[in-house]
């Protein structure tokens, strides 16, 4: 069986791993690297539960080969928090009860991170567009959208504070 040696940066760490050419990035993350935070919901790119960021852009890891990760920066849900400090998105999801069963949450968090990294204060419309590739069947999206808008605000004010602190 053809194995491919891949070196990639995953959640800030340079990682070397062997995977089969036929293994998707999702399988590689879950089965090879034991990062089971990314979930399998459909394997056709229609649910977004496997969303990860590749070089800052959100993609479905079920529709990308592990081998294609070579030289890329990959961020999964496991990479959102810094130490014991939750990312504002994670915190706002908790405060807003933006998750019920939680299976879609990792994908939503990653997609939302990709959004607010680029767009610090998204409108409701922009948030809905950015999350339209992620299906949630529990919440009706209401509390998720609110959480993302609040998180974007928190990130901004957080940034402002740290600038103030720097002065």
């Amino acid at each position: 069986m053809k194995k491919v040696l891949v070196e990639a940066n995953i959640n800030g760490e340079t990682v070397e791993f062997l995977c089969e050419a036929r293994q998707s990035l999702l399988e590689t993350l879950r089965d090879v690297l034991n990062l089971t935070g990314s979930k399998e919901g459909c394997l056709t790119g229609d649910c977004g539960a496997c969303s990860v960021m590749v070089d800052g852009r959100v993609v479905c890891s079920c529709l990308m080969l592990g081998a294609e990760a070579a030289g890329k920066n990959i961020t999964t849900v496991e990479g959102l928090a810094t130490g014991n400090q939750l990312h504002p998105l994670q915190q706002k999801f908790l405060e807003n009860a933006a998750l019920q069963c939680g299976i879609c949450t990792p994908g939503f968090l990653v997609a939302a991170k990709a959004l607010i990294d680029k767009n610090p204060n998204p409108s409701e419309e922009e948030v809905r567009y950015a999350l339209a590739g992620n299906l949630c069947r529990c919440t009706g999206y209401d509390k998720i959208v609110r959480a993302v808008i609040e998180a974007a605000k928190a990130v901004k004010s957080g940034a402002a504070e740290s600038r103030a602190g720097a002065r």
Binding site: V77, A97, A132, R137
Partner: protein, 763 residues
Amino acid sequence: MAEATSNRKFRVIGTRPIRHDGVDKVTGRAKYGADYSFPGMLHGKVLRSPHAHAVIKSIKVDKALKLPGVKAIITADDLPEAPNKMQQAGEMAINPSHLSRNILARGKVLYDGHAIAAVAATSPHIAEEALKLIEVDYEVLPPVMTVEAAMKPGAPILIPDLRNNEEGDKQTNVAQHMQFKRGDLDKGFKAADYVVEREFKTAMVHQGYIEPHNAVAIYNNDGQATIYCSTQGAFDVRSLSAQVVGVEPGKIKVVPAEIGGGFGGKTTVYLEPLALALSKKTGKPVKLVMTRSEVLRASGPTSGSTIKIKMGCTKDGKITAAQVWMAYEAGGFPGSPVVAGAMCILAPYDFENLLIDAYDVVVNRPKTAAYRAPGATNAAMASETVLDELAEKCGIDPLDMRIKNGVKEGSAHPAGPPYKRIGYIQTCEAIKNSPHYKSKLEGPNRGRGVATGFWFNAGMQSSATVNIHADGSASVVTGSPDIGGSRVSMAMITAEVLGLEVTDVRPLTADTDSIGHTDVTGGSRVTFATGMAVYEAAQDAVRQLRERAAKLWERKVEDVEMKDGKLTAKGNGVPPMSVKEIASKLGRTGGPITGRASVNARGVGAAFAATCVDVEVDPETFKVQILRCTVAQDAGKAIHPSYVEGQMQGGTAQGIGWALNEEYIYDDKGILRNSGLLDYRMPTCLDLPMIETIIVEEPNPGHPLGVRGVGEVSIVPPPAAVANAIYRAIGVRMTELPMSPPRLLKASLKRGGAADAHSAAAD
């Protein structure tokens, strides 16, 4: 008792603390069924029927068994023959033969995707390769896809030995006929000034949970087994898997993993018995996970249906009579929710003369399972749109029409019994007084619709233990898998009773060895019934705490009480003592304290919801956009309002998906065409607005905290509400679900309303 609770002040209940399991879920640490793996674990895959209806003449597995890495293959022959009559399995009544034949087909396949064989191999890939090497010889039979086709005289018979309660020894596809009858129908219709009669068709739809079914089973050589899976009911997985595989239930431990949605669809078993049987055969842990297409083809969607309804009322809007004929698709085996539907369809209305005939019909589709208020949504699409038409004829506001006819305490349910205290009228009034309903809806091709819904809710059995720890913290253990945030509610009830902070209470869902029997997370019963067990377990702990305090203070137990979260002695002398303070002294006063309670809950409170929807219809493409939506629901008492709102919003979103685009689409051979999430179209967040919620709190007298279930009823009104809104937008009365653009175009053309839409298309 709830009278007191309704105006009782709470310290914790009614607040919105962060759920205890939350951090694990936002960091990706939470362990769902598919996240489990064990040393030496094998991977299983299931061979599924490519035909909707066929006789299995032979299954040859020898080639597949020779494939390196394949460790075992099982077919129905590896499972014990099961008796073909309703009997107990644990706490529920099932037909063991039908259950077993749905897990692995025996002699016949009854739907596209019906499981035929299961393979265990050293990798999922090898297991999949092996499936291709299994040779099955079929004699293909004509598929029976609709209730009409199945009920037609001379229709192909799905289950040769199926008989019903009326036709004696005649072969049939009708598994059951149920009837509800009250008063004098003719008299009722004679008294009517207006009568509306319509026929409705609703499509088969799926719960759509994002997490596919999964199971890992480990059968040890000492005959003890453990099953890890995502389920709504670990105790049912134990009894059903034991039944199918022929193992004593007591030899199985089921560990409920975190569950990625269920909505009723994970209240039965599919993979669990296969994993168990394959592990028994190989002596190794075996894991199975469904693909999405397996979930759609071969788990348990809910019934498509045909409903004929005739309803009459007087000029001033009083309902005088209603007649209903309803037939639901059961799938390949009996057991559609048609009886539930029959008991819901007229439940919100207080009137005398009714006749309801309900038929449970087998068709070549997957065996249906529960889906959020099973049967009620199909039913409300019919009754709530016809009532809307009657209101229009009477020139009465549709909400006033419902308030005028609405059931209240003492009204008779169509099945007979009188209602206890309920909040139907209150939910209607909540919508009527909402900013949404009071607002003006302007613009062309826009319309506003309302509809209401009823669901029973369930009681059933639950167990709970509350442990007081030496540091004054507590843990609350239940057997209810947490599907939408129930653990935090259990912790809140415990904290409320013990005078602790919710953060001092750790809630957890235990496996089947670690807690007393607890029925499924379903029927909106967890916060009601398991919450009742938790409340009583906490009270049991309080009773013991009072004894310890009495000992310490050398008082009589009767003189010690729990007041405002502190143990206090009657009269003066000793300062009150918090649970935290006494906890460190437990060892010296008789040892640890565990509060326990198990209930078979009585006093279930019925649930009602009312929904208001604004839509805009593109008059040329007939695409429907939901502009605004508000739902009011009677929660009895909202323990954690955020998660009550979440249930209301989630159910509403599913109801809107059901209304607009979700449907099972089979070809003429009975093969499912849209077995993926691309073409099984659930709403994305661009398809929905914010969903405004109004929590009505009409306390349930049957619960110590006034709680009713809140998990299901919000799915019931939306399809009818959307249909009523579409009518007001473009003047077309829809009688089919889903109300997809092609169906809307067809309906408009039939009505000639779309000003000859075709030629209009170009101009």
